[in-house]
């Protein structure tokens, strides 16, 4: 019987001839991302296992990304203990502040490869699926066992095939596609399933766009979201190893969807749910006070370039603060070299260190009571970015930039 991409990757990583939904197997962990939120728990649990050494330390990235740089003495002490642990255990994948990024982003900057089992101690690990890796989130107990054994248990999920046709037009972006997808199913239809995305529309998307879609798919409660790898991924990685991975012709999928990218327009997720999706043109005009451009969803060079396209020669509205958080130092450096950051700064934006700031739960950039924000991040439940009396609209980089200039939720088509 044929296998889906998910089943093939899991079978290979488990050393089995085949894998079917419902089986629970022990798989080799190819890449492991541990961030500052869970690192203390992971390392404490690892020590409690009495393991001799960390298995495959070269497969592990340790990323300070939630509180960067630390803003309390306690936070600084946590970072120090993380550094000490990594040094003591030969974990060279510790990324010091200044050479760092959001964990999910740096995993995709030449580390994770197509066809790998790539896990991270955070719910947005499905991002790695943009590169055709099986990326999913794990907890600190799993990460500790992975460090001690090189393996974790995983239940083989059902796969759902998604075919993209056509291409994005006008001001529509991958983020708008991902917002559209939030309502593909009702209830917990996607819970614990893998999306496998292919089709001519998918193969025409940049890696950055694929990472955005895989990232936002996490909000659908999927286990993972894989894009079929191809020459675009090979070009990005610098070699084609693993890029010919394909599902079998007779693979069995639990469901199939087709999305015509041409039909996608700029969308927003309105307060207070990622499923409250409306076209921007229907809700434009609501005054805002803050715009966040960044995060693992839309903090890449392509997103900054999109924002700069609209911000060039214009200024942020007097009532608005535009907070820009590039997803990694590499991105920030490249955007600076290209003049993109200058355009953003001259428009009147503030730039924060690459981190999860602005997305909500941690770091600066909070909203006060009665404030409204347009954000390129992933979650807009009540109180996510501060006051429970604040409102968050999730959007693309284009829509965020347009809104920052207008002073209200605005259709980017007005500026492009």
């Amino acid at each position: 019987m044929g296998m889906t991409l998910t089943e093939k990757i899991i079978a290979r990583a488990a050393g089995l001839p085949s894998a079917q939904p419902g089986m629970i197997v022990a798989v080799r962990v190819d890449r492991l991302m541990i961030n500052d939120m869970l690192a203390p728990a992971v390392f404490r649990k690892f020590e409690s296992l009495g393991a001799e050494a960390v298995v495959h330390p070269e497969h592990i990235l340790v990323c300070l990304d939630h509180k960067v740089p630390p803003d309390t003495t306690a936070g600084a002490d946590v970072c120090r203990s993380i550094r000490e642990f990594c040094r003591a255990h030969g974990m060279q994948g510790f990324l010091e502040i200044g050479r760092h990024g959001i964990g999910h982003q740096v995993m995709c900057e030449g580390f994770t490869r197509p066809g790998e089992i790539a896990v991270g101690t955070d719910s947005h690990a499905p991002t790695y699926g943009g590169l055709g890796a099986l990326g999913f989130g794990i907890n600190s107990s799993d990460a500790a066992v992975a460090m001690a054994s090189g393996k974790i248990w995983v239940r083989v999920p059902e796969s759902i095939r998604v075919t993209f046709t056509g291409s994005l037009s006008g001001a529509a972006t991958a983020k708008d596609v991902s917002l559209y997808m939030q309502n593909l199913g009702t209830g917990d239809f996607f819970n614990y399933k893998d999306l496998e995305i292919s089709g001519p529309g998918a193969h025409a998307l940049s890696v950055s766009s694929r990472l955005t879609i895989a990232n936002m798919a996490a909000e659908m409660d999927i286990k993972a979201c894989l894009f079929e790898p191809d020459e675009i991924v090979a070009d990005y990685m610098g070699d084609s190893f693993g890029c010919d991975l394909r599902a079998d012709e007779d693979a069995r999928y639990a469901a199939a969807f087709e999305i015509d990218l041409h039909g996608i327009e700029p969308l927003v997720a309105c307060p207070h749910s990622n499923k409250n999706i409306r076209p921007v043109r229907e809700v434009r005009g609501m005054p805002i006070q803050q715009v966040v451009l960044g995060s693992c969803t839309n903090g890449r060079l392509e997103d900054l370039q999109q924002a700069a396209q609209i911000l060039k020669g214009r200024t942020v509205h007097p009532n608005v603060r535009l907070i820009v958080v590039p997803a990694s130092q590499k991105i920030l450096t490249e955007a600076t070299a290209q003049g993109v950051m200058e355009t953003i700064l001259r428009a009147g934006a503030v730039v924060l260190p690459p981190s999860c700031a602005g997305c909500g739960a941690f770091g600066p950039g909070k909203l006060g009571a009665g404030e409204r924000c347009v954000s390129t991040t992933t979650r807009n439940f009540r109180g996510r970015i501060g006051s429970i009396d604040s409102e968050v609209f999730l959007s693309s980089a284009y829509t965020a930039a347009a809104s920052a200039v207008a002073g209200y939720v605005e259709d980017p088509g007005k500026y492009l």
């Binding site: 079917q20 419902g22 089986m23 629970i24 989130g137 600190s140 500790a144 819970n191």
Partner: protein, 177 residues
Amino acid sequence: MRNVIEAPIFAVGDEVSSLQIIPQARWQEERLGDWVFETLLPDAAGTAGFFRRLNRLILVAGENFGCGGKSNDFAVLALKDAGVELVIAESFNRIFYRLAIDLGLIVVTCPGISAFVQKEEVLRYACETNLITRASDGACIQAEPLSELALNILSEGGLLEYYKARKDVPESLFISK
């Protein structure tokens, strides 16, 4: 892991998030169990031990219990610290489900459980039969069986305990639901 758990339940509704189970502001507390449902139950706000004093070993929940995407241990540890041994839900958020198994909290999926129970009810869960019985009238509802993997991990008390005892990662090659 006990084969039979019989106790009064506490019921919550659909879409109860990890942050409603334990708010972020309480993550550093000594007794996490003191603050379970602080933002969910009107009488719990600012009241240490409110839920724990109700002494319910069994929690019944609706759809997507433990949603919100938090990958840390706090919600599961808080429930355990509050004395909860078993959560029966219409469905679980997958991140929470994995946390629960790995940390030794028994999680049983039972579509229909929300309608099956009243607010204050004694239920009996039998692991071998997957039957949940109402003490008041003996009515039964069938829960989904725990996977062999879940049983193996829970019988050791959690993933770390399993690994320490067996020196390996568990797996179960049966095609379970």
